[in-house]
Symmetry: C2
Subunit: 324 residues, 2 copies
């Protein structure tokens, strides 16, 4: 049986790379830290397991392991790992599609409910010991557009539909979806946003998607509209967003991802009263590290048996193409 | 056709009693304010529409309108209106069952998500411009007990089940429910709470339910447990609750109702860091006043046609008995 050599790159995550004992039963594992300049020579490593998905220098994998054939990323958004060298190479890249779907969907539903029910104002009034009844809205009956038709976008859309929101899905090509009806496209985003109470971004950070939410889209979403970004910061023109939030031409936003992370202390987003800033945490729920290892392990079994891998990226597109 | 005379009692609510033009097309309407000492003589009023459900002196209806036969309350919890005189009288009492179900269920789902995803800590860290990733839990897979099998309790239970929580329903008699399986009873509440991550109170404030959540139940819910009360303050022994929250023997609580409302400024609940205090607002969403009038109007049609009324209270029980 083929016993592959696996280069596992840790570091740079909220949670350290977990013990890889189960992987070591199938493969020869060498764990290195992305921040360490000195790695052992790995001429025979054919597989890499990248824990640090925000690693700025993934091209180093190709020089450290010249025999590399497959990179598995412990994340869904793999924009950082898809460096020009890796895209140009013959190396397969797979991601962890599916692991974070429910966690992120709950996070988004929670943000929309917290906004609609004015929880932050409630906390502020509590701090002042002020009892002030208010009439809020229901989430039911509101319209939300979810940008992204991958498993995260669909799980969000399904949960918001279960909460009786009207859901519009936005993808890369116009088509009829059995579950969500007409899929709209990014070029129509301003028109879609005009009819929405909320816009949720769950799309991959591809070149094509860069800055898809700009001043025009934000103005269309409007002074009662709410933007939620759990995808990637690059989907939004951040300067336009700051301006729309400061002027009130956009009602508010909940942002879990940013152009630069951690969000720099000088960013005006921290202080705008109609913005929620959270530290790229929507996906990270208890057990997620073990789940990520399990996804890699399932694919490693396939690799060893010579079966086709799950979640293979189209490196040009920048995501796993939908089979639907 | 019988044109009834209706005494409508306004005042004392977040939202003033709405215009009753549609009611006036069917009946002779006299609107009074609960706080006003001087009402016109109303010897022929047979119907009362009580807008102020927290009114402390509903017995006044019987002296003001000696011909009274039916009181409709613009609320679901009618504990205040069920004064001893009114319970002892032959007057029918109906409530507005159904109007608030979805609003309250959304509010509860929002509170549980906000707690699980640590939104309040996120807001506090944002105020300090601190980026601190955390690993939270999912709501899916957690166990919640919902006390109350009326339409509010069931709508909450249904929504939390849709969010993949394990839901236990607690009612007044043990039985097998087609939707939620075994209904547990209040006498078992400590045993139920021991297996729960969260306990949601949506029961009516009857004498039987008074203080049903005491030290024993709170200790059973435990230091990781979370209490949500959107029912009535009297369901909880508030002193026990304060002690459990202050000592940490209970993890936290979100309270929308209190023994005394507005919550007095000297209550320690305002300042406990593991408590959310909100001002009895879970039900109040846009359009609720019109919805309440519509419910009364439907019943008034029935009254005029001599049909049986909807939502007739069992005044001894203190709520509308389930037809299931």
């Amino acid at each position: 049986m083929n016993v592959p050599q696996v280069l596992a790159v840790g570091g740079g995550s909220v949670v350290p790379i977990p013990p890889l004992d189960a992987v070591a039963e199938l493969a020869k594992v060498t764990v290195v830290d992305s921040a360490n300049d000195h790695w052992p020579a790995l001429p025979d490593a054919e597989v890499a397991f990248v824990w640090n998905f925000q690693w700025a220098a993934p091209g180093r994998l190709l020089t450290a392991a010249p025999g590399l054939r497959w990179i598995h990323v412990a994340a869904v958004g793999v924009d950082r790992v898809l460096s020009p060298e890796i895209v140009a190479s013959d190396v397969l890249v797979t991601n962890s599609r599916g692991v974070f779907d429910r966690s992120i969907a709950e996070y988004v539903a929670g943000l929309l409910l917290a906004h609609t029910k004015e929880f932050r104002l409630t906390y502020d009034l509590q701090r002042q010991r002020v009892w002030r009844n208010r009439v809020t809205r229901t989430l039911a009956g509101q319209t939300v557009a979810v940008v992204g038709t991958g498993s995260i976008g669909r799980t969000i859309a399904r949960m918001l539909k279960a909460l009786e929101m009207r859901v519009v899905l936005v993808g890369t090509r116009r088509r009829l979806d059995p579950e969500f009806g007409e899929i709209r496209v990014a070029a129509e985003l301003a028109a879609v946003a005009r009819d929405c109470d909320a816009l949720v971004l769950a799309a991959p950070a591809t070149e094509r998607n860069r800055g898809m939410v700009d001043r025009t889209v934000l103005d269309a979403l409007g002074s009662d509209g709410y933007l939620v970004n759990i995808g990637r910061g690059s989907l939004v023109v951040e300067d336009d967003l700051v301006e729309a939030l400061a002027s009130g031409s956009l009602g508010g936003a909940a942002l879990d991802v940013f152009a630069t992370e951690p969000l720099p202390p000088e960013s005006p987003l921290w202080r705008l009263p109609n913005v929620v800033v959270s530290p790229h945490m929507s996906a990270d729920t208890e057990g997620f590290a073990q789940d990520l290892v399990a996804v890699f392990l399932r694919n490693l079994h396939r690799w060893i048996k010579g079966e086709p891998l799950d979640n293979v990226l189209d490196k040009k597109l920048g995501y796993v193409p939908s089979t639907a």
